[in-house]
Amino acid sequence: MRVATDIGGTFTDLVSVDEDGKICIAKSDTTPPNFEEGVMNVIAKAELKGDDIETFIHGTTVIINALTERNGVKTGLITTKGFRDVLEIARGNRPDLFNVRYQKPKPFVPRALRLEVEERLNQKGEIITPLNVNDVETAVAQLRREGVEAIAICYLHAYANPEHERLTAELIHKMWPEVAVTASHEVTKEWREYERTNTVVLNSYVKPVAERYVNNLNNRLLEINVTGQKYIMQSNAGTTTFEQSKQSPIHMVESGPVAGVFGAAMLGKMIGHENVIAFDIGGTTAKCSLIDGGEVTVTTDYRIEWDERHAGYPIKIPVVDIVEVGNGGGSIAWIDQASALKVGPKSAGAQPGPVAYGRGGTEPTTTDANLVTGRLSAKNFSMAVNLEAVRSAIDEKIAKKFGVPVEEAALGIIRIANSNMLNALKLISVRRGYDPRDFAMVAFGGGGAMHAAFLARELGVTKVVVPVAASVFSAWGMLMTDLRHDYLQTYIRRTSELSLGEFNGAWEALEQQAIVQYQSEAIEEGQVVFHRYVDMRYLGQEHTVKVPVPGGRVTEQVLADVNATFHAIHEQNYTFKLENNPTEIVNLHLVAFGTVTKPEIAEIEPVSHTVADAVLETRPVYFEHVGFVDTRVYDRSRLGPGFELEGPAIVEEPSSSTLVYPEQRLTVDKYGNLIIYTGVQ
């Protein structure tokens, strides 16, 4: 049996699949600060026996929490002489342009703990000044006196030659074996010293935290006899072993959210859609990501605590490219000082939550608006809902200010929220040159199914899929994962001057590195599958586009094809190409999958009753332009494979509702997924 557990802000989810492909789902409370407790609870709740768990896959928020709550360890930095302030200067930018009180992100290592040593490489990796061992010893002694628990090493141009970093790490291990050490080249081999320094610093900062957590979890799992394979979900949408995750814990930073996107890609493959827009609405945010040809999009332009007004902290690791907006079910609707209606980014969260929760929330939220318009049912909440309180909150705070009926105000909230989410969906699709008609939208999270049919129609997507495990979809996605390691190597060469021998050698070296890595994780060479990419640009540009490279030996012809693909992708993304301009390779990117066998998901049982038997009630629902329309409400658990129904309709299940607009149609596929035909031709 494969079992996935995913720790979220409120719940810890479990999804398992047995040898027959049967899915089982369980949910339990998340238990900070001892998160492993919640994992054990949910395993118990699902009534799973440890011995039956052959493969255990885990997604965790422990790393992102340690970073955002500043719960990591005191960390020191050793760096090249003359450059200790790189971490504090950062990039010098001020995204909040018209705020002269803007404050830069504060470095995770204060100046007193950033120590310099004599050494210098040039951009080709040649040694200009040899490493001064005495300087390293002095620095380590000083950091020891200061009581740091972790040390990060980052030298200029270490992506081109890691030798000095390696020597330094060895020296530290000898002098002080207990301290956690990370050298930049172990985490990223891309150029740009600030980003690389920050990445290695953050890895060091959480390393002891990750080690404690993974060890605790492992011990608890062993107690109940889980002796099978244990993997942790990484931000690149693949997994790694518990052991490896402790070395580079920073890779776990987006552990949970990316699994949902990966799940959408896998679900798309199952039902014949290689092009998918993954769309996830939670309590606080909506997230979306584009899957082109079955592959999730991975980028190293990731940062935390970033928004349009804050520079945030870059982390140069491969992360699934997710665009997030501050619009979820709990997002608060408010009126600004010039009388415009806004929704989010402030959220009522889980506590107090929307007014509907009756936990003291007084600010109207998107969830409340969905209730007032009849889109959500008070009966489908796990608590008793005081509908009058919800109506009166929207009436007092919004409707009266605009002099409109309460339903119209509620619909206004939904329209503003939809507009925000639509902009995010456009950002990942049309704005990057994709035609939404070529994509299916997979909607999940608590609120995805409520807004998806409308947004898909607006965007021009023909089909929406609401998966079976929509509210625990990240855990479902984890079940489908393989192991994955990404190797990015900055490798700056003009395409026209490339030496094929050297180029092929570089790929072989990366592949060899991957094979060795997998051997240590008990994955045979035959199970390893490679995908190659290069990051390319026109000579003189800075930003790159990712271009696939076929496996095997690269010949002149292959290179010409890669170049042609680059021009085409550039034109798709940016509307123009410059075919006569020289092109340049910046990074080699090798993705190495360690494939594992997974059971096939079983089809659901046919049922003998009809779709009419699944109707729960008919109730008025408030729609754009037309007002209240009597709408049939269906019980999802009673919808069998092949069932069809016409919009307007609502399909309810615990913790989620699917809204189908007038003139839209919904069918149930053989796996139990809801498929909405949006009316877009």
């Binding site: 200067i89 990039r91 001020r94 705020n99 009180r101 803007y102 206004g412």
Partner: protein, 573 residues
């Protein structure tokens, strides 16, 4: 015409802003020049059919008045001769441009169903527009004709057909035509994106609804600004300060500023400031407008989305022929030295009365640098054109920020050392923060930076303009002044030249080093009121010495343990 409901107007307004953003990133990601894709020294946006700014994506603050002025110039010149597919090119500082010739603007009218409904416009700093020196701007030009090729609002595209003659002239007059033309195409792509999206929006919501949303948007901006204006302290605030010199030895040059705030007006008057000068630090009125708008936004509500409605309460006065309202053919290539100075004066006038919005003074100058020469590996020419980070002022409840670009910049990124060394024929000896002990206060001014380039080939040259090199960065509310921006050259044999505030075409040979050093920001509040624990941290972090802790902050620190020596000699916070 049916009146659209308020929620629809809001949705269309959001869409217009998203279009502005998309145009901005399309340009950034396809540009050929580091000054655009790293420094983001450009802006792009939409105006209405009359040239009123609707939405502007900014990499820097300095262009916040300049898109609409270009569109208005276009309307003035072409009136009824605009057609779909036209693109107008402008860089004339005195004719809609506003800054210097290096900033090249493109304007595209947007038509829907035969009606002119809006304009897309952008403006970007091209690395090269010709002129007497590589990189085009310099510190010793005496006429605008020395500063590059001038585009006085002419059609680059006529109904979609490129004006090849103009492009050929352009290519023949600039030193790196690939760079300049690459940037031009990136700008064209950005405008066409804006045109397409705007037309889609009209198609979806109807032209009338979109036009109503535009009015709604501008009124919204105005109302936001007026609400904030009500909260500002009413009164008249006056200051005077001095620009070091004009680059040719004339100076100091006085700038006078009187800010009047009433219930519904914000008037900035520079009457009495120095007349325009022979050197290239003059600023056109359009440039001044951008500068004052920047600090007006900072003083009112730094959070708001910006359109021309926001600026309706703002009036800016400067005498014609003065340094902040210069007239042709005065040279303007380092206009920022006076332009940002103008903003700095408004800032300084209001800092004492707006502590929750403003801080003490910052490095103030762009501290821009040009280094050119040949790359040792490829023997190809290289050209660095970049601004420098420096210290920002402390404010109520916050120490100043260290190593940040000046007010005229913004979402501006420094060039990473590893990128610079790969691309250019230089090696960096250090990129560090300064610790000169200035800018003391209850809250300490942020540190400036030192960036030093070693030339790896002979016959490189450096031009740099580092204003505020004779008059220090100002402290506020009892905080001490910060320091000065400066440039030094250390020759291979160890001899030192400088410090200078400005230099033009200084030769660097292999092994010579130029050190670019920026100022520490001003302090805020009496240093004796600084929390002694923070003073201890300052010493540990190397910002101040133990001696400075005692002399300036009245805090005695034990040299061995680096802890407070009792008794505490200053009052606790």
């Amino acid at each position: 015409m049916a009146k659209a409901d308020v929620f629809t107007l809001e949705v269309v307004k959001d869409s217009l802003m998203a279009i502005g953003e998309e145009m901005f990133y399309a340009l950034a990601r396809t540009s050929m020049s580091p000054i655009i894709y790293e420094v983001l020294d450009f802006a792009s946006g939409l105006t209405d059919a009359k040239g009123q700014l609707l939405t502007q994506g900014n990499g820097v603050t300095g262009f916040i008045g300049m898109l609409s002025s270009m569109v208005k110039e276009t309307l003035k010149k072409f009136e009824n001769d605009l057609k779909p597919g036209d693109i107008i090119i402008i860089n004339d500082p005195y004719g809609g441009g506003g800054s210097h010739l290096s900033d090249v603007g493109l304007v595209m009218p947007i038509f829907y169903q035969g009606q002119l409904v809006a304009f897309a416009a952008n403006k970007a700093h091209w690395t090269e527009v010709g002129g007497k020196d590589p990189g085009s701007w310099t510190t010793d030009s005496t006429e605008i004709y020395q500063e590059g090729l001038q585009f006085p609002a002419v059609k680059l595209f006529d109904e979609g057909h490129i004006n090849q003659a103009l492009v050929d002239i352009l290519a023949a007059n600039v030193r790196f035509p690939d760079l300049s033309l690459g940037d031009m195409w990136a700008q064209v792509a950005g405008l066409r994106t804006g045109e397409r999206r705007f037309q889609e929006l009209c198609g979806k919501f109807g032209k009338d609804t979109v036009l109503q949303s535009i009015e709604y948007m501008l009124d919204y901006g105005e109302q936001m600004a007026r609400e904030e204006l009500k909260k500002l302290p009413k009164g008249v605030y006056e200051v005077e300060d001095f620009i070091d010199d004009d680059g040719l030895g004339h100076g100091p040059l006085n700038v006078r500023c009187k800010v009047t705030i009433t219930d519904d007006e914000f008037i900035v008057d520079f009457t009495g400031s120095h007349k325009q000068v022979p050197g290239p630090i003059n600023c056109s009125y359009t440039g001044l407008v951008s500068a004052v708008r920047t600090i007006f936004l900072a003083a009112t509500n730094p959070g708001q989305d910006v359109n021309d409605g926001v600026f309706r309460p703002l009036t800016i006065i400067a005498e014609k022929g003065s340094i902040l309202n210069a007239e042709r053919p005065a040279p303007v290539s380092t206009y920022w030295e006076s332009m940002i100075f103008g903003a700095d004066m408004v800032w300084k006038a209001l800092a004492p009365v707006l502590p929750e919005r403003l801080t003490a003074g910052h490095l103030e100058s762009v501290c821009s640098v040009i280094v050119s020469g040949t790359h040792p590996d490829t023997n190809e020419p290289f050209l660095i054109v970049e601004p420098s980070v420096g210290g920002w002022g402390a404010g109520l409840g916050m120490d100043g920020q260290s190593g940040q670009f000046c007010l005229g910049d913004g979402e501006t990124f420094n060039v990473p050392v590893e990128v610079a060394e790969t691309r250019y024929g230089v090696r960096l000896q250090e990129y560090s923060l300064t610790a000169d002990g200035t800018g003391a206060g209850q809250y300490r001014g942020g540190a400036g930076a030192i960036r030093s380039y070693e030339a790896l080939t002979d016959n490189q040259f450096v031009t740099a303009s580092f204003g505020r090199n004779k008059y220090p960065v100002w402290g506020a509310s009892g905080g001490r002044d910060g320091s000065y921006n400066k440039i030094e050259i250390i020759r291979k044999d160890g001899t030192k030249e400088g410090p200078f505030g400005k230099c033009a075409r200084k030769i660097l040979n292999k092994g010579d080093v130029v050190r670019l050093i920026t100022a520490t920001g001003g302090g805020y509040g009496d240093p004796l009121l600084r929390n002694p624990q923070k003073v201890v941290e300052d010493v540990k972090n190397g910002w101040i010495t133990i001696a400075q802790a005692k002399e300036i902050y009245g805090v005695v620190i034990d040299e061995q343990t680096l802890t407070l020596a009792t008794p505490v000699t200053s009052p606790m916070e």
